[in-house]
């Protein structure tokens, strides 16, 4: 009997290792190898089930001993099934947590368990439970941030969920299973919004380990945009066959194969119709109206600024204003004041919409409107950024320490505001904003490392500051950044030497 047991148990264990290796290899590949490793993992899984069933039949004659042995053989396979088909769909967050802990071996199985509980959480009680579990885990790592993102999605706050899940990429601690979950949520979210560009960009930069579903959605996105390396019909159907939720994804695949290239694929801007309005003022008002009444885009803003600068500097405008001022019996100086008033009102309206849409001032605008808009956008953004970074730096002086996840949220929000301002204002604004970001960011990073023992957060902040220092060419900040970023980061997965 022991020989028989060995004959079954040893291959079973070997198959288990092969399956783990296949899943790990699949994560790193976005080629045909991904499909091959997925297929191998599936075949091995089936073989393990068959082996477990055989083992149960063989040991059945051992009487009561059969039950624990069968449990040991079948439980790892069964819990995956329970997790996927019962705990998560039914919203059983505690069951999801414990089942997920059982399915993962290694240094930190609770990380994946926390995220699966967050994925299963279906109401506010479950969310509170997940958050309580998260808060018991210090220091903060990728799993805690992912769980925060997933419960934000449960609350219906997809924007926060996106920001939190994307921010994981900055964290040096790396649980591959957690990142798979984050990547899959982001892929499904992007597919729901039709944001195919995001999916293609994530795939091109290998930001997340690919699950079969993520890999399928990336292929669908690439087909929609006719991106380089987009899969052919056979390959896309093969991805579909290996991915879960085939009923839901079948239509997506069919649409992607039938769809013509989207606007992003061609990259061509819509042709601008020639304005039928003859006068410079007519063209300016029409361009203004176009910018006000449609989704704000940089091209329309540039056209409006250009048209207003031309109109207000046009001698014909001045002579028309002078003529009307005379007819209205207006006092002297009315024309100049009217031009100034119009330029001010136009700048106000354009700046308000440009700020809301995070647009930068168009380059080369040196007329009445263009110059004022540039000053307004740059100064407004800079002031807001400096105030926000100052508030961030002062947080460490608060009497009541904030939870680590709140510190992270604050950093993620500030970084997003900084990047938006830098994108709109260009390198000049980046250079102006960086010193304040660097001073406060360095202080906060040092405080998080030394006083709060939040090593991964501190490292992420230092790494971001270093990247920005290199961009703006601040040699002192670069030197300090290199020193801070070279420190080994203690995590649950051991000390990580960046």
């Amino acid at each position: 009997m022991p020989l028989v047991l060995y004959a079954i148990a040893v291959p079973y264990l070997v198959l288990q290792r092969v399956r783990q290796a296949a899943v790990a290899a699949r994560r790193a590949n976005r080629t045909w190898r991904h499909l091959a490793w997925s297929a191998l993992a599936g075949v091995v899984h089936a073989a393990m089930l068959a082996g477990a069933a055989t083992l149960v039949v063989v040991v059945w004659q051992l009487g009561w001993l059969a039950a624990p042995m069968a449990a040991v053989a079948i439980a790892p396979l069964a819990t995956e099934w329970v997790l996927r088909f019962i705990a998560v769909p039914a919203g059983l967050h505690r069951l999801a947590y414990h089942a997920a802990r059982f399915t993962r071996s290694g240094a930190d199985p609770r990380a994946f368990a926390l995220c699966m509980a967050a994925r299963a959480a279906g109401d506010l009680t479950a969310v509170a439970w997940v958050e309580a579990q998260r808060d018991t885990r210090t220091p903060l790592g990728d799993a805690e941030i992912a769980a925060t993102g997933l419960v934000a999605a449960t609350r219906g706050d997809a924007k926060t969920a996106r920001a939190m899940l994307r921010s994981i990429a900055m964290i040096v601690e790396n649980h591959p299973a957690v990142r798979e979950l984050a990547g899959e949520w982001l892929a499904c979210d992007a597919a729901e919004r039709g944001a195919w560009g995001e999916l293609v960009d994530d795939a091109a930069h290998h930001r997340w380990p690919a699950t079969p579903l993520t890999y399928l959605l990336e292929g669908i996105a690439a087909r929609h945009l006719e991106a380089a390396g987009a899969p052919g019909p056979y390959e896309l159907w093969a991805r579909w066959a290996l991915a879960p939720r085939r009923r839901a994804t079948r239509r997506l695949v069919a649409e992607a194969l039938a769809a013509p290239a989207g606007p992003a694929a061609t990259g061509a801007a819509a042709p601008v119709e020639a304005s039928p309005i003859a006068t410079a003022l007519g063209r300016a008002v029409a361009a203004h109206l176009a910018f006000e009444s449609q989704p704000a885009v940089a091209r329309d803003l540039a056209l409006a600024v250009q048209a207003w600068d031309a109109a207000l500097g046009d001698p014909a405008t001045r002579s028309w204003l002078a003529q009307r001022a005379l007819e209205l019996d207006a006092p002297a100086g009315t024309v100049e004041r009217a031009v100034t008033d119009v330029a001010g009102a136009v700048t106000d309206e354009l700046a308000r919409r440009a700020e809301a849409a995070q647009l930068g001032a168009p380059p080369g605008g040196d007329g009445l409107v263009g110059a004022a808009l540039s000053r307004r956008l740059r100064h407004g953004r800079l002031d807001a950024l400096e105030a926000a970074f100052a508030r961030w730096g002062e947080r460490r002086l608060d009497q009541v320490p904030h939870p680590a996840i709140d510190e992270w949220r604050e950093f993620v929000a500030l970084r997003a505001a900084y990047l938006a301002a830098a994108t709109a204002g260009g390198l000049e604004l980046r250079r102006l904003a960086f010193p304040r970001a660097f001073t406060n960011g360095s202080n906060v990073a040092a405080w998080l490392w030394n006083k709060r023992q939040e090593y991964a957060l501190s490292h992420a902040i230092s790494r971001w500051l270093l990247a920005e220092a290199i961009l703006v060419g601040d040699s002192e900040a670069i030197e300090l950044g290199h020193r801070n970023c070279a420190l080994a980061v203690p995590t649950r997965l051991g000390h990580i030497q960046p």
């Binding site: 769909p89 449960t154 899959e184 597919a191 039709g194 944001a195 839901a248 109206l289 119009v342 009102a345």
Partner: protein, 119 residues
Amino acid sequence: MTAATPTAPSTSLADNPFFVLGIATDASRIEVEREAQKLLGMLELGFADAAIYATPLGPRARTAEGVRAAVAALRDPQRRLVAELWARHAPPPRHAAAPPREPGPAVRAGLRRALGWRP
């Protein structure tokens, strides 16, 4: 540069005094006063037609305060000049709401849930 004060009526497109009063840009002072009195009376009596005015950005709600502010703006030659500059060069006012915008990327509501995520 003089920024528009928050209390002053905007002379640009949406609340341009000429659009608020529904008059031509070459209307005389007497015509402006007469039209304002007529509109104030109609608003007081609750005439539905008087409650809406057309602008190039689509229809807007007309109020008694808006009418009084528009008349005050047109009594001042400089503010009238600025209001004329906008109104005279704007496309014709539209009585109907703006047509629906071009659809963005297709949103597949509920796809995330169908793919095993909540909500």
